[in-house]
């Protein structure tokens, strides 16, 4: 049950957010959790390393089961708590296949986003190049256009895999939330904007919204011109 679960997390981290949305959707509120700070390097602290030798967040335990990879935790929670909360994996084979496809494309989307917004976190000063950042931005634009296209084809009010909210939305929405936090223009990406507005009102998303985004409603403008 929820009280056998422990989550160590960081605010604004999409992987952490994914797990939190899944826990909300499966009515597993009441889990133990601790908010840690990336800036203070708390993700490399002993309490994290004891559970997650990679020194990363999220770090998630259910009883003795340690599942730190956010996608793994989401699949696990849906599987173990299938009969409670929202059904996150649809039965229809076509919808299910589309859900899986979008989920795994979501990893690429997340990587391309990080390569732009966290360029300076990942690349030491002496190795940074304008040309590299430019190329990363172009790759992100190509990726965003793909997702804009996916949403266009499904029509207004749709979720990523069709008419229902699924695991694809659980794992990809945090990335979409982040792109708008960093200033993406909803005028230039209207379908993504529509999707963002739809999901941000969902109870599980609202309940797990990054606290520091609530404290500072104004985000960054790194992506405003792309």
């Amino acid at each position: 049950m929820a009280k056998d679960m422990t989550l160590l997390w960081g605010t604004g981290s999409p992987p952490c957010w994914r797990v939190m949305i899944a826990l909300e959707e499966k009515n597993l509120q009441g889990y133990d959790h601790k908010l840690l700070s990336f800036e203070k390097m708390e993700h490399k602290s002993q309490q994290v390393l004891d559970i997650n030798p990679r020194g990363q967040l999220p770090t998630f335990k259910h009883g003795d089961n340690v599942i730190n990879e956010s996608y793994a935790a989401c699949f696990y929670l849906e599987s173990q708590f299938k009969s409670q909360g929202t059904k996150l994996i649809p039965d229809g084979p076509a919808e299910q296949a589309l859900m899986y496809q979008r989920m795994f494309e979501g990893l690429t989307f997340y990587e391309k986003l990080n390569a732009v917004i966290y360029y300076e976190w990942y690349v030491p000063e002496g190795e940074r190049h304008e040309s590299a950042l430019k190329r990363n931005k172009e790759a992100l634009v190509t990726e965003l256009k793909l997702w804009e296209g996916y949403l266009q084809k499904l029509g207004s009010g749709s979720y990523l895999a069709g008419p229902s909210f699924t695991l694809a939305d659980v794992v990809v929405f945090p990335t979409v939330g982040t792109v708008f936090r960093f200033g993406l223009s909803p005028e230039r990406y209207p379908k993504l904007g529509e999707y963002y507005n739809l999901l941000k009102e969902r109870p599980s998303v609202k309940a797990s919204w990054p606290p520091h985004w609530l404290e500072n409603p104004k985000g960054q403008d790194t992506l405003k011109d792309i």
Partner: protein
């Protein structure tokens, strides 16, 4: 059924190989398939782009539905054909958790090995740094040690538990790829044992990359 499935693939590509292993394990032989060449740029051809707008291999279709991401295809096939062939995701909660964890950790292994293997391909000349090359190699070494540790704890020749699972489907092609590129069997004995131990499993043998059969191994990773 198998004949409603189409796979466009490249020899030696771990993502392509994963799908082929699952198709074998689930007794779905007889699918339509076409071997394409990365070298000739065939992954960017029209027939690939029609299934996979990203212009990547594998390009896989199950009926009308594209499932180009290898893990997506593997999960979907296991789910759809749950009752036939090998059971790749067990019901037992603890094992399932570990299998899922390892499946998604492979991403880290793939990223860290790709940046070493393909550094000069990924990074244009003016942006390359020895410091980056060194750091990437150190990161890959640390990652490999983690996997060596996981296999140290494993007892039956599989990455998790006593049976072949989805974790092996996802992990094995990546491990084999590293040895094909010169990873040292002396320095990574548990990984080598795992690699050799599963080589003759029917699904793996049947889908072994054709271009590896007569080709000498590369040496890129021999000093890692």
């Amino acid at each position: 059924m198998a004949k409603d499935m189409t796979l466009l693939w490249g020899s030696g590509s771990p993502p392509c190989w994963r799908i082929m292993i699952v198709l074998e394990e689930k007794n779905l032989q007889g699918y339509n398939q076409k071997l394409l060449s990365f070298e000739k740029g065939e992954h960017k051809s029209k027939e690939v782009m029609e299934i996979n707008p990203r212009g990547q291999l594998p390009a896989f279709k199950c009926g009308d539905v594209p499932l180009n991401e290898s893990c997506a295809a593997c999960f979907h096939l296991e789910c759809k054909y749950k009752s036939q062939g090998t059971k790749l995701i067990p019901d037992c909660e603890d094992e399932k958790a570990q299998i899922l964890q390892r499946v998604f950790e492979v991403n880290a292994l793939t990223e860290k090995s790709s940046i070493v293997l393909y550094y000069n391909w990924i990074v244009p000349e003016g942006e390359r740094h020895d410091s980056a090359v060194k750091r990437n190699k150190e990161a890959l070494t640390a990652e490999l040690k983690l996997w060596e540790g996981y296999l140290q704890k494993a007892s039956s020749g599989f990455i998790v538990g006593k049976d072949f699972s989805l974790a092996d489907v996802i992990v094995y092609p990546t491990v084999a790829y590293l040895f094909q590129n010169g990873l040292s069997e002396q320095r990574y004995p548990k990984l080598a044992e795992y690699y050799k131990g599963l080589m003759n499993r029917p699904s793996i043998k049947a889908s072994w990359p054709p271009t590896w059969k007569n080709a000498p191994k590369q040496e890129t990773l021999k000093d890692i």
